[in-house]
Every structure is written in C-alpha cells, then in structure tokens.
Symmetry: C2
Subunit: 435 residues, 2 copies
Amino acid sequence: MPVFLDTRDADFEAEFVKLLSAKREESEDVNDAVGKIIADVRARGDAALCELTAHFDRLELSPEGLALSRAEVDAEVEKVTPEDRSALEHAAQRIRAYHVRQMPQDVEWTDPEGARLGWRFTPVAAAGLYVPGGLASYPSSLLMNAIPAKVAGVERLAICVPTPDGVINPLVMLAARLSGVDEIYRVGGAQAIAALAYGTETIPAVDKITGPGNAYVAAAKRRVFGRVGIDMIAGPSEILVIADGDNDPDWVALDLLSQAEHDESAQSILLTTDPEFGQAVARAVEARLETLDRRKIAGAAWRDFGAVITVRDLEEAAVLSDRVAPEHLELCVEDPKTLSERIRHAGAIFLGRWTPEAIGDYVGGPNHVLPTARSARFSSGLSVLDFLKRTTLAEMTPEALKAIGPSAERLAHAESLQAHGLSVTARLEQLNREG
Amino acid sequence: MPVFLDTRDADFEAEFVKLLSAKREESEDVNDAVGKIIADVRARGDAALCELTAHFDRLELSPEGLALSRAEVDAEVEKVTPEDRSALEHAAQRIRAYHVRQMPQDVEWTDPEGARLGWRFTPVAAAGLYVPGGLASYPSSLLMNAIPAKVAGVERLAICVPTPDGVINPLVMLAARLSGVDEIYRVGGAQAIAALAYGTETIPAVDKITGPGNAYVAAAKRRVFGRVGIDMIAGPSEILVIADGDNDPDWVALDLLSQAEHDESAQSILLTTDPEFGQAVARAVEARLETLDRRKIAGAAWRDFGAVITVRDLEEAAVLSDRVAPEHLELCVEDPKTLSERIRHAGAIFLGRWTPEAIGDYVGGPNHVLPTARSARFSSGLSVLDFLKRTTLAEMTPEALKAIGPSAERLAHAESLQAHGLSVTARLEQLNREG
C-alpha cells in the first residue's frame, strides 16, 4: 500500500518530510571497476573494446566490426513495420518542431559608452549518445537526445549501443536514421563512455556525451566529466499528479502507473482536494495492477514509494508540489493554466485531463530527458542549449576604452593585479599622447 | 623561456600536441578530508562550523557571529575610498546591463495538430556564492557571480567568505551590497560548501552553489553536486592572443602577463603571423617581468606554460586557436570581426587592439567566469541561465489527443511500456464513445 496522508493531520509535516527524503536508489559501488575499464580503453583502445564486448555482451568482434555498416543498418531498418515507422516519424517530426524553436539568437549591440558587446552561439563539434541495450533500449530516448544535437548543428553525432548476443533493436536503428546520427558503434557500458571520451583507433573522441545508462555508465560519465561535457545523471522516474474530484480515477491511476512501471524505484504521488477521489484512484491502481505485464515492477514502486495526499485546496497542492520539484507534473484540474502559473519547480508540466504524461514521453514535442530527485529546483530538461555553447564578445574603441578603462585600472589595483591594470594603462597613455 | 614554435617546422604537430596536453595542475587529493568535513557539518551544524573556523581561520565565533550584521557590513563599506567605490559601481552597472539582456523569453504556441506547447523560465529559489578569502578575495568575482543571480530573480542570495584572523575585505562587502546579496557568512572552505548544501541552524540550505575556491572548495562542490546545482569547476586562467605584426609588443606582452600573474599554472599563448613580432613580444615580457610585483608567479607561468607560435596566416591561427579552445581569446588584428567569425571554440573573445582582456575582468560587461582547460569545446561562461531553469509545457485538447495519441500508443507498445499506452488508450476510448 502507498502512504495516505492528509495535510490536516497533526503528523503531516513529519510524514511529508519522510516522503521527500526517502532514499529510493541504492547506488551500486562500481567506481573501482569503472576506473579500471576506462584505464584499459585508454591504454589499449580497440583491442580493449573488443575484449570487454566479448566479456560483457557475449559478442566476438574485430575492430572492423565495432561500427555498424550502412548495409547492416539498412537491413535492420527494413524489419520495422510500416505502423511503427510511421509512429516514429510522427514523433521525430514533432520533437524536431519543438526543439527548433529553442535555438537562441546571437546578439550584438553598442552600448552608451561606445563598447561593442554581444554573444554568439556555436554548436559542440562532436557529440556521443549512449543508448542502453536490452530491455531499456528505447528508440524514443534516442530521438530525444539526437534531435536536439542535430538541431543545434552538431556535425558529428556518434551513438554507442550495446548489442548483447549480437541482438540489434531495429526501431533504435530507425530512430538513429531519422535523427541523422552519423556513426553507430555496438559497444556499451563504461567501455563505450571511455571510447567516446578518449577516442580509440576506430572511435574518434567526442566533446560531449549524453544519454541514460546503468550504474556503470553513470559512474563512467561522472569520471570523464571535465575531459568532455556530460548531461545530467538521471535518477528513477517520478510523476506527481494534482487532481480535483472531477476526473476519471482510472485515467489518473494509469498515469501514476505509467511512471511506476519504469522502475521499482520510481515514485508516483497524487495530490487531490477530494479524499474520496484519492481512494478511488488507489482502488483503480490495484485493479489495473492485476492485468499489467509489468505489475511486479509497477506494484513495488507504488507500494514502496507511492503516496496519495489530501490537500485543503489547490494553492496548498502547488506549495507541496514545489517542495517535491517533480520530474513530471500533471495538472488534472478545471483551470490548469492558472494552477501552472503557481508552480515554480517542475521538469515538465502536463496541463489538463487530456494530457497524459505518456504523450510527453513520445510525441508531445518537449524533451523527455528531465531532472529527477528534486533537481528541478536548479536544473532543466535536455534542450538544444546542451549542444551549444555561448562565446561572449567585447570590442572597445579608443573612446570606449577612455570611458571605462580607468575603472578597470582602479579595480585591478585594488585586487593587486598589476599587469591587468598596466595592460589598460599602456593603451590609455598612447591615447593621451595622441591627445 | 616559453616554447617558440613555427607551424612550418617538421615537428610542429608533435610539439603542439604536447602543449595542448600539458598537465598544468596537480590536483591535491583532499577528497577524504573533505568528506569528513562535510559529514561533520551535516551531523553537528553550527557547532562544527565554529570549530572548523577556529581551526582553519584562527577565528573564534559563536553561532550568532556566523552571519555578519548589517552594522558590521556598513562599517566595512565605509572604509572604501570614493574612487574605489565609484569604479566598483561603474563595473556593477555595466555587468548588470549586459546580463539583463540575457534574460530568456517564455514561449507558448499552438501547433498544427492543436497541441498547446511552450516553456517557461523560473529562477532558482536560493543560491549560495563562495567568495575566497585572503589573497584571492576578488570583489570583481563577487559581482560576476551575484549580479547574474539577482538579474535572474533569485530571492535568497547568500555568500560565504572566510575571514582569516577576522580580516574582512571592505571592497568585497561593498560588492555584496551593490549586487543585492541577502546574507553574508564568515565561513570558508569545505565547511562553507557543506553548510550551503545541507543547511545548519543558522545557514539555511540553498539550491545552487557557484563561485571559485581552492582544492577543498572544489572537491566539496563536486561532492554536493546532485544535492544542489553547482557551476563549473574552474581551472587555471588562460589567454590566447592572435596578433599580426602591426601591434605594440608591450601591449601584447602585458595582456599575456595579465593572465600569467594569476597563477603559476596559468597559460599565455601568442599566435602571430610575424615571427619578428613574436620575438619582440617575448622580449617585452621579460622587460615587464623585471618590475612586476607578481613577477615570481607570472614568470613561472610564462616560463613553464607560455608559447609563441608563428603561423602562416590568420586562417591557420583560427584553426589552432579552436584546438586550444581558450578561456580568453584576443584578436589583435586589422579586421577582428571577420576573424572572430572563424572562431568556433572560445569562452570570451576580445576584438581589436583596444580591447585588453583585463577590460573583460572588470568592466566590459560580459562575465569573467569562463570555461578553462579546453572546456570551451562544450561549455559556456556563467550567465543568468545558470540561475534559471526551464519547465516545459504541454496541453492536449481532445482533438490534439486524437491526432497524436495513436502514435504514442504505438511507440509505448513497441517499448513494452503498457501503462504508458493505456493512459492514452483510456482517454481515446472515451472520445470514441462520445463520437
């Protein structure tokens, strides 16, 4: 059973804090193992990759076989049914349309003191995406990582996807094709991250690595951070639904289960103004759990981390939601727009009863790579900005330097950075000589 | 002596790679010590902070003395000379004017399938800035961190600044006042980072921590990352100057020295089309080194990591500069704008002979917190975006769900995520029943 709370209960605050601080994930300590794998790949390159792939994925490769050929990809793509292809194309098109709007503008202006200022965005030159293999091999994740990279203008986009026992996921290959991926390597785990970060004879190093993965992949990303850029380290999925009593309990139950089915550590929370509705949703969850294929996973997540909280009003719901800072927030209420304007911390908001969170996982358009574990307090979902960097621009004229240089000299002196000051002084002296 | 290279030399590529991969910083292994300090502050709060401050800063405090009072700050601010105050106000005003332009727009639109989409930015609720004490206590750094936070709308902005032996830097206090800092604590080191991340009785926890610091501070920031957001971990300063022969060698020498004087690990590189000019700059550096207060530091950095490289033309200079991806790039050439458009990877560009890098450290307007150690390949300087996060928005109408829901159902099925699919199916069935 999930916890049932009511904000009017005397012990509510203590129980809510307990819910917020519940440790949902035991992080496996794989740091030493990962350190060894990275060192091995740095030292021996392709040879290490092939040995590690034989060991972990039971797949014998020569260095020439690390990259999938165009013909191999073609052959896989042909296995995709027309219906699946059409759905994936629909998703890719909508994700692209959303992310194209995120492209920022370069700006330049001349300010009142005559300085020419601005900034300019340029894409990361080469990016690598990790795509998990096996059960969690999601073509939708590939679209969500690769499309922003290509919209940003990344020239070289490589993916690493393990193919345990040589099994390739055709829909992942189609997703790579649709998003314009340039290179596909059948390597996984920490060895794939090491190859992307340091390069091998076959796999040139990239500048930025994104994408989800298991504990080994996450630990490897943390270790290579600094050498290359990385995206966030994603934790288990979360959904928080704010609902009034005027909803179909089964719909909300399915929305809660759609995150619970990801992972036994996932968290699904319902905040409702109507305690009877809360009970009805809990019953609907139990009913749906009986027939779900992933009932073991979803049931464990719901039982261990689920919560149904009765609130006094929607204002209180917004305050509690901000304390959770959920990855996904559904507003199943009469006026979702007004309520959404009260929310300060959430990765993605789904407005109204007709917007199940699952729409956002596939075809809504916004990115489904979102901050978890309360990190929506300080971070955002993946976007084209993750594949761009900003260079600031400044150009002084002699007049601008005359106007602002003396303040720089003064502050350099105050900070005891003499050469800083002199680099301005030398130029100002020349201007004074010229009159 | 710095290295002198010429791209026409047979061994140039090998020498350039050596320069690129020079390890400039020995990272002190303070991880265990930092782990203990963080655990201590988490366990004992203010009491631990006071003990650690007595130990490291030779300053006896009671918990009530951790925060500086308004009167204490006032007293320090009054010590600042009118000239210094005016320079700092000038800098603050220019930095604010630049960063205000970075505020991103919220966007919403309805797409052709009837979905209402968009995103919205909200500020981080509480941020903490670390300000080093002692020699590297720079009021300019405080402005560069605090002003973007306040422009972004951060409500609660706390700074931690160690005051060894009780010595407070009046100009730092004025910078805090000018930037609208809300709370000032006289604690430093890993203990300050622990307090900001986890909170103590006196110091409430924040959501994001930025600002430079020594090895302990950097290690502590890495450790609390995830619990809170952090900015980059800054490495030693770097400058790369691209210059034609038509420059005053002394100006360029001072620009190179203005980074070299920061740190013995700093790096200053000159790329020039004119080998004689390169020699003249090297001579000017030696001449200036004789009279600089920080000649020991600047001399070591120039000798160990400096380089003068003769290039065939500016095109070649741009290519080499991109391989370095410098923190600061000066373009001392006839047509800096055209050359700047060739550059892909740099933290900040200073265009033309009248724009010494030091202008950017203080009063140019752009931020001086910039990516080091080649990380301009994938990251950007500090900006208001570091204190904002983006929440994506999606709202389906029944019609929009009819149009795009079936693709979500299909992909959920392909990914074996049944509840995801059913959450869409349940709603579509209702629409079908309604006809």
